[in-house]
């Protein structure tokens, strides 16, 4: 298996089942990991900031630096390779609360919120995620299977299922056992 490294403010797309997309040092950044299991096309975007309006020139040079330019671009590219929104498994990793250059802790949360907003607008629900906390993450996507793993800090790899509970558990009543249909 061949590793393809995705850097910061970077994005890689693959349709090669021999490849493994991997990105490191996800602190406050967010990785958007996308996979269409039918055509086996996927992508990994690693973006730094939520909103490109702070520097339109930079966004022009590198749309993958920002959520609002990077995520639409990722979707555009994978669609051109045959991936379909209704089939895409989309997972998120990162968005930790770490000190950024301004000494603030909010950018991870803002990055996560931006991803949720843009994906909702694009008509895509998030399958599962490993976000928040205060730890840096590494994540990899296996192109042959669509399986994805996340490592938090110096910990071990944990597989992030195609469907899983989000970092914030929903408020709901306990399940009720119902009788069958009459």
């Amino acid at each position: 298996m061949r590793s393809v490294v995705v850097g910061i403010s970077d994005c890689k797309i693959s349709g090669d089942s021999e490849e493994l997309l991997i990105t490191y040092a996800l602190g406050s950044c967010i990785a958007v990991i996308l996979y269409d299991p039918i055509v086996k096309v996927g992508g990994l975007l690693h973006y730094m900031l939520p909103d490109s309006s702070i520097d339109r020139n930079k966004a022009q040079q590198n749309p993958f630096m920002f959520a609002d330019t990077g995520i639409p671009r990722l979707l555009e590219i994978v669609r051109a390779r045959g991936a379909q929104p209704g089939r895409m498994v989309v997972r998120l990793a990162g968005g930790a609360q770490v000190m950024d250059s301004q000494g603030t802790f909010q950018i991870g949360k803002r990055n996560y919120l931006a991803a949720r907003k843009i994906l909702w607008k694009a008509g895509i629900l998030i399958a599962s995620e490993a976000v928040g906390g205060e730890v840096s993450r590494t994540t990899r996507l296996e192109m042959s299977s669509g399986r994805m793993w996340v490592r938090e800090g110096a910990g071990t790899d944990c597989e992030l299922a195609g469907r899983g509970v989000s970092a914030k558990a929903p408020q709901k009543a306990p399940p009720k056992m119902m009788e069958g249909k009459v």
Partner: protein
């Protein structure tokens, strides 16, 4: 299977939000009926059979609790999974609605993914019990 659904909420934008989640969740959506209160919802049910009901509580004319009571009397709750979606997260209300026969209770605010998960649980439980 294609699910036909009845969404009961006095907010048209809330009904739109729920409809969007259902569509994006991968459920095959058949007909989607809407009502802005319990009274309208009962009229819809006279005309159309549905596979799942999602209902708010605080609504004018007939609130969700009264609507659920009527569904229970009609025997509808035995055959149609019903999910309550409400901003009321008080303990007594939740217990009362579940005692009346609601299959689940989502409190607002909720993320689209949380609603998808709850729908899968409610519809999955019913499908499993039919098997």
């Amino acid at each position: 299977m294609a699910y036909s659904v009845l969404i009961v909420d006095d907010s048209p934008v809330m009904r739109s939000f729920i409809r969007r989640v259902m569509r994006l969740s991968g459920f095959e959506l058949g007909e989607c009926w809407e009502a802005s209160n319990g009274e309208e919802a009962l009229s819809e049910l006279k005309e159309h059979a549905v596979d799942v009901i999602l209902t708010d509580i605080n609504m004018p004319k007939m609130n969700g609790e009264e609507f659920l009571r009527r569904l229970e009397e009609m025997g509808t709750l035995r055959s149609v999974p019903t999910l309550v979606i409400s901003t009321d997260a008080t303990k007594n209300r939740i217990l009362r609605m579940l005692s009346l026969g609601a299959d689940g209770y989502m409190t607002k605010p909720f993320s689209p993914e949380s609603l998808r998960e709850e729908l899968e649980r409610v519809l999955g439980a019913r499908n499993a019990s039919r098997a």
